[in-house]
């Protein structure tokens, strides 16, 4: 007899990302994932000036703040046929990569680590043995026994203060935790250090973006932050030196803390290399143009698809093959909910037919999510770091192949282990290091352009709407930290006629489609072992390995019963 368990992580009232799973014989049989919030950004944008859309779309999310701005300016540039100058491309690459690096570090330590690291056990660790462990895996300087004893004391005092906050709610002492106390203490110390790293590193955005978060320097046609060695109010030699120092901090922290921690933790959880595989299809739009040709071949992270876990073939990506179903989503399509609509023809007509809250279970046979179900050639696709690294690996990008092989060798597993919860988490770390190593290339090119007198940052020929065709459509792609992000825009008489954003978490957390095919989260949960159905930490491990975008968009303090709901967007 199977048992239906519900994981509604943030609140039992309105929810945001909700999971229902049937557990039978200690493992998950079937799962349903529901995004329980309606976004409506598309409705806000209709009728607006396409040149300002990025300022609105950027506010879709407060975590990866730049990504919707980039996808938006690219969509409008695609519609109008605008090519941006080299300095704008380089600054965008630096902004995108620093967003990704910071976001991945935050994800590993602040969002994912507590699925693997038991804080309660860290309090039992021996600081000198912890120091020995830390020194054996890295030459990172903060590794003395006094240092770890200090961290342990800080955590003890925090727990004793009676305000444990987020630390109160985890599944401490769960049998699925397997790290020795010393590894737990080391990871916890790095958890705290990561907070300092991330806030220092993201100053790259303050420089290149005017402010962080929600940078202000994007423009349709380029960037608005000037590049000029002779100006104090522009990117000059001081600015370049600052960028180089931040790049070095990133390389140091990622190669000497993040990656060694990842390998150390992963080696205790190798069984997770066979759990959480998912749909086995991967989509990557590609990103980080290395020249100004506009040719997809110039992308540092190549574009491509992998289908059926076949690393022998990288298939092309054609945007016309993307379409979204609303069969199991709380929307109504004018041509019937069994059809799939390409984003240019996308419709956002909400039609909630779910149970009235509070409810026990969703009606999973019918509509059960605010997320639509995007499909490529009618197939569910996983997006994100694993998709990017698999496409780069299968495309033969030398440094990615090298890094992937180092990790596989360390864990003594084969490439098939990549299709798993552990593979997803490892791919994120590999990608972070790979991008850290690119930062200086782009900084050097900016310096060289400045030295050669190329100070262009914006292509203004198509700025005036008088120069636009009466109708135009475009799509803008970006590989955001969480995966393939696409914005589709239709412009008519100088205004936005239709706008659709297909975001990474919609691909990954999508509900079933017209054929009943589960989305990537739903498929990844099938077969997951559940030791204790009242404390399903195993579900969190797999779901967090996708890095769902949760801390977005809406938050609301409920004074009646002291619950706060934070509703999902991305």
């Amino acid at each position: 007899m199977s048992q239906r368990i519900v994981l509604d992580p943030v609140t039992r009232i309105e929810g945001h990302l909700r999971i229902e799973a049937d557990v039978d014989g200690g493992q998950i049989g079937e799962a349903w994932v529901s995004g329980t919030m309606f976004r409506g950004m598309e409705i806000v944008l209709r009728g607006r000036d396409p040149r300002e859309a990025w300022l609105f779309t950027q506010r879709i999310c407060g975590v990866c703040t730049t990504v919707h701005a980039i996808a938006s300016v690219r969509a409008v540039e695609d519609a109008l046929g605008v090519m941006i100058p080299p300095n704008a491309r380089l600054m965008r690459n630096l902004i995108m990569a620093s967003q990704l690096i910071q976001d991945h570090v935050v994800h590993f330590y602040a969002l994912h680590a507590l699925d693997w690291v038991d804080v309660s056990s860290a309090l039992q660790a021996d600081p000198s043995q912890t120091a020995a462990l830390a020194q054996s895996i890295s030459d990172w300087p903060s590794a003395s026994s006094a240092y770890f004893a200090g961290v342990q004391q800080k955590v003890k005092s925090f727990v004793e203060s009676g305000q444990p906050g987020f630390l109160a709610s985890a599944y401490w002492g769960h049998p699925a935790y397997r790290l020795p106390p010393e590894a737990n203490l080391m990871a916890l110390a790095h958890y705290l250090e990561a907070l300092d790293f991330q806030r220092e590193f993201i100053k790259v955005h303050a420089l290149l973006g005017g402010k962080n978060p929600h940078t202000q320097t994007f423009l349709v046609g380029g960037q608005s932050y000037p590049v000029d060695p002779n100006s104090q109010n522009a990117l000059n030699a001081d600015g370049l030196a600052f960028l180089r120092s931040k790049a070095q901090e990133a390389i140091d922290f990622v190669s000497r803390v993040y990656v060694p921690d990842l390998l150390a933790v992963a080696s205790f959880y190798k069984d997770w290399a066979a759990i959480g595989g998912g749909v086995g299809n991967f989509l990557c739009y590609g990103d980080y143009p290395m020249d100004d040709s506009g040719d997809p071949a110039s992308l540092l992270l190549p574009r491509g698809r992998i289908v059926g876990k076949d690393l022998g073939v990288v298939l092309p990506v054609d945007q016309s093959q993307i379409a979204e179903y609303a069969t199991h989503s709380w929307y109504q399509y004018s041509g019937g909910d069994e059809t799939a609509l390409h984003p240019w023809r996308g419709e956002t007509t909400p039609r909630y037919v779910g149970p009235k809250p509070p409810y026990e279970h969703l009606e999973v046979e019918g509509k059960y999510s605010w997320l639509k179900a995007p499909r490529y050639e009618d197939m569910p696709m996983e997006v994100g770091p694993l998709a990017r690294m698999l496409v780069a690996y299968a495309s033969g990008v030398p440094r990615v192949r090298e890094l992937v092989e180092v990790v596989l060798k360390h864990l003594q597993v084969g490439p098939e282990a990549l299709f798993s919860t552990l593979g997803r988490t490892a791919a994120r770390g590999i990608e972070t290091l790979f991008l850290c190593e690119q930062l200086n290339t782009w900084i050097d090119q900016l310096a060289s352009n400045m030295a050669n007198g190329d100070l262009r940052i914006h292509a203004g020929e198509k700025w005036d709407p008088q120069t636009w065709p009466a109708e135009a459509e475009g799509c803008g792609w970006h590989e955001a930290p969480r995966g393939a992000l696409g914005h589709w825009v239709r412009i008519k008489d100088g205004e936005i006629a239709n706008y659709q954003a297909v975001v990474p978490t919609t691909w990954n957390a999508s509900p079933r489609d017209a054929k009943g095919q589960p989305g990537p989260y739903e498929a990844a949960l099938v077969g997951t072992p559940i030791a204790d159905s009242t404390r399903p930490i195993e579900i969190l491990r797999t779901i967090h390995s996708f890095d769902p975008c949760i801390a977005c968009a809406v938050h609301l303090l409920d004074g009646r019963d002291r619950e706060i709901s934070r509703l999902l967007i991305g």
Partner: protein
């Protein structure tokens, strides 16, 4: 601790009254004279990015939308234990909303002299850039409440700006 005072407005301004905290802060920015060591911050829907601002402040006023079943526009003030307990309500996910960021700051050794949470009851949380009329009144009232608190702390040196509560 630099002895800064932080007024932190939270909310999503694309969802009507949900953005009330941000509206209050923007309003205060418009009517209050610049004061050294007073930071009026539009925190939007951010999480972890707020950590440095919080850690640099010894006094914090958080302004946010709050559902308590009272009439729309009602302003509630949580102080002392109520305000600090608020940190623990959002405990379930490994989410990095503000309560968790406050807890993280605490874990890292931050001990504020004052923490006050001001909640304004919403009416409409649907897509839209405007506040409802009821909640717009609540905005004015909340701005007065914040100004009074700042005045009690000796940060703002007058009762309230002349046009506060009158300006649209």
């Amino acid at each position: 601790m630099a002895g800064q005072t932080l007024v932190l407005g939270l909310g999503n301004t694309l969802l009507g009254d949900e953005g009330i905290g941000v509206h209050v802060v923007c309003y205060l920015k418009a009517v209050l004279p610049p004061v050294p060591n007073l930071v009026l911050l539009d925190g939007g829907t951010l999480g972890l990015e707020l950590l440095p601002y919080i850690e640099e402040a010894s006094r914090v006023v958080v302004v946010d939308c709050m559902c308590s079943g009272r009439p729309p526009g009602t302003v509630s003030v949580l102080r002392g234990r109520e305000a600090s307990e608020w940190q623990t309500y959002l405990a379930a996910a490994h989410d990095l909303g503000l309560p968790n960021v406050l807890a993280l700051a605490h874990l890292r050794g931050w001990r504020p002299e004052e923490l006050v949470v001001i909640g304004i009851e919403p009416l409409c949380l649907g897509p839209g850039l405007e506040l409802s009329a009821e909640v717009a009144k609540g905005r004015d009232e909340a701005a007065i409440v914040v100004t009074n608190i700042l005045s009690c702390w000796g940060i703002v040196h007058r009762e309230r700006p002349k046009n506060l509560g009158e300006q649209q």
